[in-house]
Assembly symmetry: D2
Homo-oligomer: 306 residues x 4
C-alpha cells in the first residue's frame, strides 16, 4: 500500500476570455501540456485555479473541460472551496457527477469556527460522497490552521485521504508526515513550490506547485531526482525553480494583491509560452501590465523556457 | 437630505428546520415580531442570518420570505456575501429580482487582495445594479479592514450609500462618520450591540444589532432616547442590553466557535420567547445544550423577556 | 467611594535632545503646560512617552523630572513596560523610589504566554509594591488582549486598581466597565483620543489621550461637558479633537511606522506651540520632515492652537 | 570563504535556582555537555535562554558564565533582545565587554515600526560594535517578519553576517539562502528543530535547535550526515529528533503558554538527564508538574537518552 496521490499535481490555472468566461480551448491545451510533461494528476479549482473568483457555472465548466481533456490518463482532483458544510457538499456532489476523481476541501471560512466544528465539517463532507477527500490547509485564505492532530485523527478514521498543505508550517507538515507513518495510503502533498525538495526529504508524497503550471518539466525532474535519492540534483533543480518563482514579484505590490501577483504571473507565463491564449484574470484582479509582462518574459528566458 | 437608513435594523436570523431548511413560518413570525417592535428595516442574510452557511436555494428562499412578510412596511437589506466580484454580482441580481431594497456587500475574502482591488470590487458591484449598496466592514470574517478613506471615496463617488460597521474599530468609525459630514445621505450603521449609545453619540445613523432579534423593543427605546438627546437614559438601556448580551457566553468556548455562540444564543432566546419554532443552526455549528439553554433563559428572565 | 483616577491624564511625551537625552527643561515646561490646562494626572513612560525606546537611565530621569515638576499637584503614573515579571518588578521598584503615585503595567510580551500566566504576572507585580497598579491593555504592542473577566477578577482581588485601555475593543471596555459596577474605586481609563465622549457615556472614569499632550485644554473641556451631562457639547468638542488628530497622518506611511507617526506628530505640534524645544524622537524613529511639519502646523492653525 | 557560523549552535537554556538566580554550576555543566557532544557554537540568551525573562544582572551573569566555560573552544553568540535601538546597543556593548564572539539582534518590538525603520535599527546597532551581527527573525515574538530583501541588503552592505531564522517561513528562508549565494560568508541558521535536514538541503549553514540542549549528539550526527550527503540518514535522525520534540507537548496547553511548554520541557529533560540541577523556570512561567515530567521522561527513554 502506498499514498494514493504522488508526484507532481499542478493546481491548474483556469484560462479565461476577456469576458471572464472559461476559455475551454486554452484549458484543453494546458491539460495536454501538463500531462505530456509527466504530471501525476491535475488539481482543478484550487487557489491558482481562481476557484474563489468563478461563478458556479464557470466552476462546473472548468471541471468538465479538465475531466474530458484528461480522459482518465491522470486523476483529476477538484477543489470544492466553499464557506461551510452544506455549500461544500453541493460542490462535492457536482464534482462527483462531472467525473472528478477526488475532492479537495478546506475548513469553513468567513465564520468563526471551533476545531471541533472543523472536525464535524470534514466528517459531514465525507459522509456525503464516496470520493477520496483531501484536506486543504491554507490558512492564508481560510484563517484557520488544521492541526496535525486533527488531520491524523481524520485520516485514521478514513475521513481524509491526505492533505494539500499550503500552510507554510513546515513543522506541522513534518509532524503530520511522521504521524501518518502508520497510514500508508495517506497522501501528504506540499503546496510550497520553492521547498519541494526539502519537503520530499521530510517525507512528502508529492507536490502541488502553482509554478508547476509554468514549468511542469522542471517539477517532474525534481520529483524524479527525489525518488531516486539524488538529493543534490533535486536541490539544484529546486534552486532553478525558486529563481523562476521570482515571476510572482513582477506585478507591483503597490497595485496588486497576492492573488493577482501569483495567478497573474502564472497565466502571463503560460500565454508567453503559447500554451494559453490570454493572461486575463477574474475581477477584481488585474492582468499584468506590459512592463510587468516583460519581467516575466525575462525570467522565462533565463530559465530557458522561452 | 438625511441618511437613507436609520434606527434599528436587525440582522435577522434565519430560522431553520431540523433538516436545515428555511422555516418560513417562523421567519414570518420573526419579521412580524420585529416590525411590531418598531424596527426601521430588516437586514437579511448577514452573519447572524447564517448567510455563509446557507445554500443558494436557501438564501433565495430567505430573501423571498422576508420581503413578502415585510410587505413594504420597512426596507429589506439583503446580504450578498460572496468571495469575489462575479459571485457577489450574481447574488445582487437575485436579491434585486426578489425585491430587496438594498444590498450589503463585503470586500473579497479567501483571496489575497489589495486595497485598490477592493475599491474596484465595490465599483464593479455597484455598476451591476441600481440598488443602494452598503459596504459591510467585518474584518473578523473577511480579514480585510475597510479604511475610512476608501469608504469615504466610494461614498463621495456614489458607489456606496453607507457602511455596516462590525469592525470593532471605533476610531475608524468615528473618522468615517466625521468625514461623511458632507455626504448627508450616507448611512453609518454600527453592528456592535453593546456600544450603540456611544456610537450614536459619535454620529452613527442607526444600529444593526444581532441582539436586536431578541430584544428589538429595547433597541428601539435606546435609539429613541438617543434621538431625543436623553443620553443618560440611552446609556442605562444600553447597560441593560449589554448584560443581556451575556447570552452569547452561554455556549462553552471549549466546544463552540464564535458563530455558534452568537447565532445559537440568539435563536435559543427567540425559541424560548416563542417567536421561532426551533433553535436549530446550520452544520457544522451545533444547537445549544439543555444546560446552555437554561443559561440563556436565566438571562431572558433577568431582562424581563420571559 | 469613587474611581481613584479620573479626568484627563495625558500620556506625557518625553522631550529629547538631538543626542537622544531627556530634555529636562522642555519636560518641565510640558508638565507645567498640562497642569495649568487642568489635567488630573500625568502618565509618564507610556507608549507616547517612548518608554520602549528609552534606556533605563533615561527612563529614570524621565520619572524623576516629571515627579519633581508635578510636585504633588497631580498624581504621576509611571509606565513600567517590560517583557516579563522580574523585569517589570525592577521597574516598579525604581518608580516607587522616584516618587511615582501609581504604576502602569502590561501583560508579558515577546514571550508566548497563557492567560493564567498573565494573571500570575499581575499578582506577582502587585505583591512587590504597595503602589496602585493599573493594567495597561495595548494588544497592538503586547499582542495579548486582557479579557474583561481577567481584569475584573484581578480588580475584585485588589490586584489592579483600574485599566488603561488602548485595545480598541470598545465591546470589551463596556463589559469591563459594567462588570466593575460593584468595584467603585476601579478606574476605567480610555486611551482612544477620538472616542472619549463615547467611552465616557459608556462609563469610563477618564481618558489618557496621546493627543492630550497637544491640546489638553480641549480634553479638559470635553470631560467637563461629560461630567455635566452636556453630551452634545462633548461630542462637538470630540469632533474638533478628532479632526486635530489628523496630525498623525502627516508623516508618510511609506517611510514611517505608527510609533513615528503618532509620537512624532505630537512632539512636532508641541514644538510648534513652543512648549518643547525639539521634535526629536528616538532611533529608529525619525523626526517629521519640513513638509510633514507644515501639515501639522496647518492642523494646529485650523484648531486655533497656533 | 565560507559561512562564519555552521553546524549545531544550541540556544543554550539558562539553568536557574528556585529563587530565579542563574545557577552557574549547572550552566557550566551544560556548556561542557554541549561542547563535548560536538556543537559548533553556543547561543546564549535566545528565546530558549529565557532572555526576555531575565533581569539585566542575570543576563550579564549568563554571558559571563558561558564565555568563561566555553573558554574559546567554540564561539559564544549572545542574544541582545531589547525593544529598540538604544536599548539593544546597551546590551551589545555589555556582551562585547563580557567576551561574546557575536551578537544576535531582532527587529524592534512593542513599537509599531516600518521596514525602513527596521533597516535603520540594524544599521545603528552595527555601527555601535565590531562584533559579527546575526539578524534574529522570530515573528512569533517580535511580530515583524524580516523580508529576504531586507536581510540580503543588510548582508550585502556588511551590516549583518547572517540570520537566525525562527520564522517558520521556509519559503522566505529558501529565498534568503539563494539570494545569499554571492555572499559566501553569510550564515543562514535555521531555528526549527524538526526540519533541520530539509533546511540543510535547502542550503542552510547550520542549525540553532532548542532541542539541541537535550540531545546535542543527535543534532551533531544529523548535521554530519548532511555534510556528507547522506540525506536519507539525515532524515532518519531528524525523524527520531522530531519524535523527541514531542516533549514540548508534555505541559498542558490549558495551563501553560508556548514559552513554558518549550523551555520548561527542555529544562526538565536536562534535569532528568542529570546535566542541570533544577528545571525551574522564570515567572510567570511554571515548572512542569510531576505528571508532565513523567511524559518527558518517557520520551527520553524512547529516544535512548535516559
Amino acid at each position: 500500500m502506498s499514498p494514493r496521490f504522488t508526484g507532481v499535481i499542478p493546481p491548474i490555472v483556469t484560462p479565461l476570455t476577456s469576458e471572464g468566461e472559461v476559455d475551454a480551448a486554452s484549458l484543453e491545451r494546458l491539460v495536454e501540456f501538463l500531462i505530456e510533461a509527466g504530471v501525476s494528476g491535475l488539481f482543478a479549482l484550487g487557489s491558482s485555479g481562481e476557484s474563489a473568483f468563478l461563478t458556479d457555472a464557470r466552476r462546473d465548466r472548468t471541471i468538465d473541460v479538465v475531466v474530458r481533456a484528461a480522459d482518465g490518463r491522470v486523476p483529476v482532483l477538484a477543489g470544492c472551496i466553499e464557506t461551510t458544510t452544506s455549500r461544500v457538499i453541493e460542490r462535492v456532489e457536482i464534482a462527483s457527477k462531472l467525473g472528478a476523481d477526488a475532492v479537495v476541501v478546506t475548513a469553513p471560512f468567513y465564520t468563526r469556527i471551533h476545531p471541533v466544528e472543523v472536525e464535524r465539517h470534514f466528517r459531514a463532507v465525507k459522509a456525503a460522497s464516496d470520493l477520496p477527500l483531501l484536506a486543504y490547509d491554507v490558512p492564508v485564505s481560510v484563517h484557520t490552521k488544521l492541526s496535525p492532530d486533527l488531520v491524523l485523527t481524520l485520516a485514521a478514521d478514513g475521513v481524509v485521504d491526505g492533505i494539500k498543505d499550503s500552510s507554510g508550517d513546515d513543522v506541522g507538515f513534518r509532524q503530520t508526515v511522521l504521524g501518518a507513518a502508520a497510514l500508508p495510503a495517506f497522501s501528504a502533498l506540499t503546496g510550497h513550490e520553492v521547498v519541494v525538495d526539502a519537503m520530499m526529504l521530510a517525507g512528502a508524497s508529492g507536490a502541488v506547485p502553482g509554478l508547476g503550471n509554468v514549468d511542469p518539466h522542471g517539477y517532474v525532474r525534481l520529483l524524479q531526482a527525489c525518488a531516486e535519492g539524488r538529493w543534490t540534483d533535486a536541490a539544484q533543480e529546486q534552486d532553478r525553480l525558486t529563481r523562476l518563482f521570482g515571476i510572482v514579484d513582477a506585478a507591483s505590490p503597490d497595485t496588486a494583491g497576492g492573488s493577482t501577483r501569483g495567478v497573474g504571473a502564472f497565466k502571463t507565463a503560460l500565454a508567453l509560452r503559447g500554451v494559453i491564449a490570454s493572461a486575463a484574470v477574474s475581477a477584481p484582479m488585474r492582468e499584468l501590465t506590459g512592463e510587468e509582462t516583460r519581467v516575466v518574459a525575462a525570467h522565462l528566458e533565463e530559465a530557458g523556457l522561452l
